[in-house]
């Protein structure tokens, strides 16, 4: 089957690793503000974006998600002082490595979304969902099941 073929009724599934203090709160604010976005994302709450092990990201692709977003506080605003600086280093590398083995850049993204950025959360989710919808299901790195 060609990688590009998009089956009917397919809906992209996107996993968002959200830090508890900024991005999760930003998503809550989007909800409080009733900012609509497509229901394709699943938020997984972690204390800090620095908790997100790259192995979790690969695992998600293995199990069949179509896109992964790692999101946390803006650098300098980390609830845990420096966590997101490590996140930034780690995922600058990881992003390049994933692209190097053939993962399309849209499939893995990282963003800083603060607790007050409900609209930004909405906009990022809209954008990623659209990008991934246009690309079709991800089959790269995916296990056989």
């Amino acid at each position: 089957m060609s990688v590009k073929e998009i089956p009917q009724n397919w809906e992209p599934k996107i996993l968002v690793f959200a830090c508890n203090w900024c991005t999760y709160a930003g998503a809550d604010l989007a909800g409080l503000s009733r900012l609509q976005y497509p229901p394709n994302i699943r938020i997984l709450r972690v204390p800090c974006s620095g908790r997100v092990n790259p192995q979790f990201v690969i695992r998600a692709f293995q199990r069949g998600v179509d896109g992964v977003l790692v999101a946390g506080c803006h650098p300098g605003d980390c609830h845990y002082v420096t966590g997101n600086y490590f996140t930034r280093r780690r995922y600058l590398l990881m992003q390049r490595l994933l692209q190097y083995v053939g993962i399309d850049p849209e499939r893995f993204q990282a963003r800083w979304i603060s607790g007050s950025e409900g609209p930004k959360f909405q906009q990022v989710v809209n954008q990623i969902t659209e990008e991934i919808r246009a690309m079709g299901p991800n089959r790269k790195l995916r296990d056989a099941q």
């Binding site: 990688v3 790259p54 192995q55 690969i58 695992r59 293995q62 650098p75 300098g76 420096t82 600086y85 490590f86 930034r88 280093r89 780690r90 995922y91 600058l92 590398l93 990881m94 992003q95 390049r96 490595l97 994933l98 692209q99 190097y100 083995v101 053939g102 993962i103 399309d104 850049p105 993204q109 990282a110 963003r111 800083w112 790269k140 790195l141 995916r142 296990d143 056989a144």
Partner: protein, 299 residues
């Protein structure tokens, strides 16, 4: 017998006789002419087994991990890349500098073992890939030095800068081409973990790929799990790989593992500034610290 072989035998004998170390780890001739596997010598008379030739590939620093609980001192021979590995192990607090005697060998580059096998002893055997790009042919740390300081200068003059042309070639492919390329490579992977077992950056007590209770990786030997293994291992050695190329040499399936490692080395240099692993045992690791002014791409 080469001049250097004579010298290493002499120094090894002296070290054992004087009791400076109880064991000397060097290389000896193996079953085939193109193999020089490690030799573990504990008797002065056995030092005549030691050799130095263009097939002394094994990174001996790795074997120090087997002697972590050994009470006495161990002496090892180090090429430039072995010495970087030693520094790395120091940085990882896996070896005690006081308990190791290092004998440095300025290395003019080794020969490609596989090509040797196919071309035969009389063939014109090329240098090993890793040696063609070696930036540190001379040992960075040693207690004794074969050939003295002059040898250092001679060898240092031969070093060549890596140009990452192989990495760039992959980067220039389309995403799908890249994926196909790597799938083809890792579909061959047997998950024998030979790459891990020889790697001096792999110093964990328990590797996560052996942690069945957490289930990081499935037992199935399929494309997906193999790639999980490849990517995870690459991230684990990121900023720590000393470019000794042992992973690739040990791989029975000829997977170009260094092509992944070099990608990370290239990116670390581009993103976070010049860094060569295993140069400064006191230094900070690229993923062990950060700079507030690191590139910002996630706005």
């Amino acid at each position: 017998m080469s001049e250097i072989t004579k010298k290493i035998q002499e120094i090894a004998r002296e070290i054992l006789e004087k009791g400076e170390a109880e064991i000397v780890i060097g290389w000896e001739k193996g079953t085939f002419w193109y193999l020089s596997p490690p030799a573990f010598i504990d008797k002065p008379e056995d030092t005549q087994r030691l050799v130095w030739d263009e097939f002394c590939h094994n990174n001996l620093s790795k074997y120090l991990l087997d002697y972590k609980n050994h009470e006495g001192k161990v002496a090892i021979f180090v090429k430039g890349c072995d010495s970087r590995a030693f520094n790395r192990l120091l940085q990882d607090k896996q070896v005690d500098r006081e308990k190791v005697v290092l004998i440095g060998i300025p290395c003019t580059g080794l020969k490609d073992q596989d090509k040797a096998k196919s071309l035969g002893p009389n063939g014109d055997i090329p240098k090993a890939q890793k040696c063609m790009e070696c930036k540190y042919p001379t040992p960075l740390v040693y207690d004794y030095l074969i050939g003295g300081e002059e040898a250092l200068n001679e060898v240092a003059a031969t070093k060549e800068a890596p140009d990452f042309s192989d990495v760039k070639a992959v980067e220039e492919m389309t995403p799908d081409e890249r994926y196909d390329f790597w799938t083809k490579q890792y579909d061959r992977c047997l998950r024998c973990y030979a790459c891990r077992n020889v790697c001096p950056a792999c110093s964990c007590r328990e590797c996560i790929f052996d942690q069945t209770r957490i289930g990081w990786i499935g037992k199935a030997n399929n494309s997906s799990e193999n790639q999980f293994f490849a990517l995870t291992r690459a991230m684990h050695v990121a900023g720590r790989c000393v470019e000794c190329g042992e992973c690739e040499r040990a791989c029975p399936m000829d997977i170009p593992i260094m092509l992944l490692n070099k990608k990370l080395i290239k990116d670390i240099n581009e993103l976070f500034g010049k860094y060569d692993a295993g140069i400064d045992p006191e230094g900070k690791l690229p993923l062990g610290h950060f700079d507030k002014n690191d590139p910002e791409e996630f706005m």
